[in-house]
């Protein structure tokens, strides 16, 4: 890319989506594109795939050359031979009825014969581990499977470059990690150049050759992962990984690119205990640092939501919830965690009365507000002012947007508006707000918006509403919850304090807990840094401490 500037047709040219961007990606390189929401990551990737400007229109200056093809002369169809593209939503990237046809579609468009197509389809299916899915109907696939098939469809012509725009944002963490692992393998074993935009950069930083940071359409950092982390610690803390924030806050360097590197650094400083021993777990108390809020089990005397032996059995289908008994107190902050299909969303729907148990009962004290996964589904009017009373908008800090169309709001604003809608107290309300339930609220959300959401949730809890959030995000759970309920195959498999559940797990654990092995109940970088500082204070002087 040489001095590329671009403005969408619908937006003002004074605020370009890309502003004098110059970037070069070598064959076999893996480049991670980082940046907050709206920074221009997606536009950069769409320029590389030719969708900008051929599909989106608008005004473009500068030059983009992909695999020797200038995007001014070649559209996305031509570029598909040299550049595979994977977008966010797996649902809209599948156009055929079966996996085999989906993989073959791009090659057939290029006029390849049946034999050549069959061979390429087999090759890519085996390479990506989707051969068992070839004869499956695409509408039967899970989100993770769909995204792998879409990746296969992007790769089937063996392009030298693959462009991925937040491909894991709509997936659960297991499926997301699997996809990132596939991309790493692709890059390492077949030398495919990769440009990957990702919100959770801790997932892919260890495999990256370079990190490019976008801000307001410009590249503000283009560096190796280690240099990027130093830059992020200095200039944009919202882009720091939890492990880098942990070590940085404790004054230990260099910033680690992953859990393994963080543990190695701590071990070199003699700060890593072999396991979370009882001594280690009480360390924070010993050193006078306040521990995390205790689990307020006593509040259970006054339940806001009570599940009594709830079953949900689908006619001619599976049993989604099996004999669940739960009590959530007023003001209690609860994270509901578990793998996809475990029954988290179904439990929330039961709490809000969208579903009725086939056996058992759900009792609620007051009204239950439910915010489903896609906040856009709540917004049906032409302007924000029609969605909600001005007082309620003012309370949500959205009163300056009354004339805007809801679809023009940013992701964070849209979620705040939807949350304000479901928690609003209408004049006709017969019951006060007793509980708030949110289903996967941080999908595709950057760290800054996540911090805003945590503050909002705490505010609801402080006002006496129970807060129940279904999430795959351990960092979110650690930031807001007092209690974590783990659900597996429709039953509650664990129910305890946030430290007990997230401090000792493998999968359900924060990055800080994984670095420190759960020591001192430290789940978030700030807690972990306190622990490390207390250990440093006791450590011999000759240990090296970063300035």
């Amino acid at each position: 890319m040489e001095s590329v500037s671009y403005s969408y047709a619908s937006r003002s040219p004074s605020k370009p989506a890309l502003d004098e961007v110059s970037l070069s990606v070598a064959a076999g390189e893996l480049v991670v594109v980082a940046g907050l929401s709206g920074s221009g990551k997606s536009t950069l990737l769409r320029a590389a795939s030719g969708l900008v400007p051929h599909f989106h229109g608008g005004e473009m200056a500068g030059r983009v050359v992909v695999g020797g093809m200038d995007t001014r002369e070649h559209g996305p169809g031509d570029l598909a031979a040299v550049c595979g593209t994977l977008l966010q939503d797996p649902e809209t990237q599948i156009v055929m009825a079966t996996v085999a046809s989906e993989l073959a579609f791009g090659l057939e468009n290029r006029g390849l014969g049946a034999t050549a197509v069959a061979r390429e389809v087999q090759e890519v299916a085996l390479a990506l581990g989707i051969a068992p899915l070839l004869e499956r109907a695409t509408h039967e696939l899970s989100g993770g499977e769909l995204q792998r098939v879409a990746l296969g469809a992007a790769l089937v012509g063996r392009p030298g470059l693959v462009v991925l725009d937040e491909p894991t944002s709509q997936l659960d963490p297991v499926a997301g990690d699997e996809l990132i692992w596939l991309v790493r393998r692709l890059n390492e074993q077949w030398g495919t150049a990769v440009i990957l935009a990702e919100q959770r950069i801790e997932r892919c930083l260890a495999a990256a050759d370079r990190v490019v940071v976008m801000d307001a359409g410009r590249i503000v950092c283009d560096a190796t992962p280690a240099e990027f982390l130093v830059w992020a610690g200095r200039s944009c803390k919202a882009l720091q990984t939890p492990a880098a924030e942990l070590l940085g806050s404790a004054g230990i360097g260099p910033p680690p690119t992953g859990v393994k590197a963080a543990r190695a650094t701590l071990a070199a400083h003699g700060l890593l205990t072999p396991s979370a021993s009882p001594e280690a777990q009480s360390e924070l108390e010993v050193n006078g640092t306040p521990r995390r809020r205790p689990w307020r089990r006593s509040l259970k005397a006054n339940p806001a939501i009570e599940f009594k032996h709830v079953w949900h059995e689908i006619r001619n289908g599976p049993t989604v919830i099996r004999d669940v008994c739960l009590s959530i107190a007023a003001g209690e902050m609860v994270a509901l965690m578990g793998a996809n299909g475990a029954g988290k969303s179904t439990l929330l729907r039961h709490a809000a009365g969208l579903m009725k148990p086939t056996r058992g009962s759900v009792n609620v004290d007051g009204r239950v507000a439910l915010l489903l996964q896609n906040p856009g589904d709540y917004l049906v009017h032409e302007c924000v002012g029609d969605e909600l009373e001005i007082e309620a908008l003012r309370g949500a800090g959205l009163d300056h947007l009354v004339d805007r169309h809801p679809r023009d709001l940013s992701g964070g604003e849209r979620q705040r508006l939807a949350l304000a809608i479901v928690t609003a107290e209408p004049a006709t309300a017969t019951a006060a707000l007793g509980a708030i339930c949110l289903d996967e609220p941080t999908r595709g959300m950057d760290h800054g918006h996540r911090a805003e959401l945590v503050a909002q949730l705490r505010d609801f809890g402080d006002r006496g509403s129970a807060v129940l959030v279904a999430t795959h995000d351990p960092e979110l759970a650690a930031a807001f919850a007092d209690r974590v309920i783990l659900v597996g195959d429709g039953v509650v498999v664990a129910d305890g304090s946030v430290a007990a559940i997230l401090g000792s797990g493998w999968y359900f654990a924060t990055e800080t807990a994984r670095v420190l092995g759960g020591a001192g109940d430290a789940l978030l970088p700030a807690d972990g840094a306190s622990l490390l500082r207390s250990r440093l204070a006791k450590a011999p002087l000759e240990l090296k401490v970063a300035p």
Partner: protein, 290 residues
């Protein structure tokens, strides 16, 4: 309505044969007025669906088709002014004028409803058992864009219905008075357009815009291809013979004339047999991968 992969002779046959078979079922019911022929084809469709393992899909289609058929059956006697056997007199009824219900109009309404039911179920059998991707390949040599548009429209139906369900749930979560219907319809339409734009972007990225005509594909005819093609020809032949030789003759107006003898029963049996016979040979119906 979604295509469902099953191990059945109809699924194992090429798309052209499957299309011809389902097309013959629909065509037979469209060109014949005879209740004997229509009932026989209905039995043929239902039996074929069960034998193809898509009985559930046909049942879902019937849930929509039966009310439509009943509606047609009810409306016809109200609007038809023919027939001699009056079975009910309602006098002057508003815009309908003098309303006399005749037996002939009632029966003909039922025949029209039955025909609509058979056509819808034949189309449902096609949608559930004939591979749309193969149909696309079949037609792409003629007109790729039209074929792909038709396939995508079919594929967008379940995606949009899931979107609509999600939006309906979200609206139920709003406290207070629900938003107006117009606002919800507008939001659903906007959402559908957004989806369509996303799919269009994907098509661009897959090279749809520069699609080239694929080389001709030669494939040997399997036993199932031959059986279903023969069945389609046989079905059309039987219906044609019944029309040419006035078998199973039916006339609704001015008075009912329904031929129902041995010949007609033999014709019905032949139609059912022709519909079901291709399903008897189940060799080689399983997919090579699962």
């Amino acid at each position: 309505m979604n295509y469902r992969r099953c191990s059945s002779p109809l699924h194992a046959s090429r798309a052209a044969a499957g299309m011809a078979y389902c097309g013959a079922l629909a065509l037979g019911s469209l060109v014949s007025d005879s209740p004997v022929v229509l009932v026989a084809i209905l039995a043929g469709v239902v039996g074929a669906a069960v034998a193809a393992g898509v009985g559930r899909e046909i049942r879902h289609a019937a849930l929509l088709a039966v009310p439509l058929a009943l509606l047609i059956a009810v409306i016809n006697p109200l609007v038809a002014r023919e027939g001699l056997t009056v079975i009910a007199r309602f006098g002057e009824v508003g815009p309908l004028g003098q309303l006399d219900i005749t037996l002939e109009a009632v029966v003909y309404g039922a025949i029209l409803g039955l025909r609509a039911l058979v056509v819808i179920l034949a189309c449902a059998l096609y949608a559930a058992a004939v591979d749309p991707d193969e149909v696309l390949r079949l037609f792409r040599r003629l007109s790729l864009r039209s074929a792909l548009t038709a396939t995508l429209a079919t594929r967008m139906v379940p995606v949009l219905s899931r979107d609509a369900r999600r939006m309906a749930d979200a609206q139920r979560c709003r406290p207070g008075a629900p938003p107006g219907r117009t606002a919800v319809v507008r939001a659903v339409a906007t959402n559908a357009l957004d989806r369509a734009v996303d799919v269009a972007a994907t098509l661009e990225l897959r090279g749809y815009g520069v699609a080239r005509r694929p080389p001709r594909e030669r494939r040997r005819w399997s036993r199932h291809d031959l059986a279903f093609t023969a069945s389609a020809i046989g079905l059309v032949g039987l219906v044609a013979v019944s029309r040419i030789y006035a078998l199973a003759e039916f006339g609704a107006y001015p008075q009912l004339r329904i031929a129902l003898g041995v010949e007609e029963l033999l014709l019905a049996a032949a139609i059912i047999a022709v519909c079901w016979l291709p399903f008897l040979d189940r060799r080689g119906v399983a997919r090579s991968r699962s």
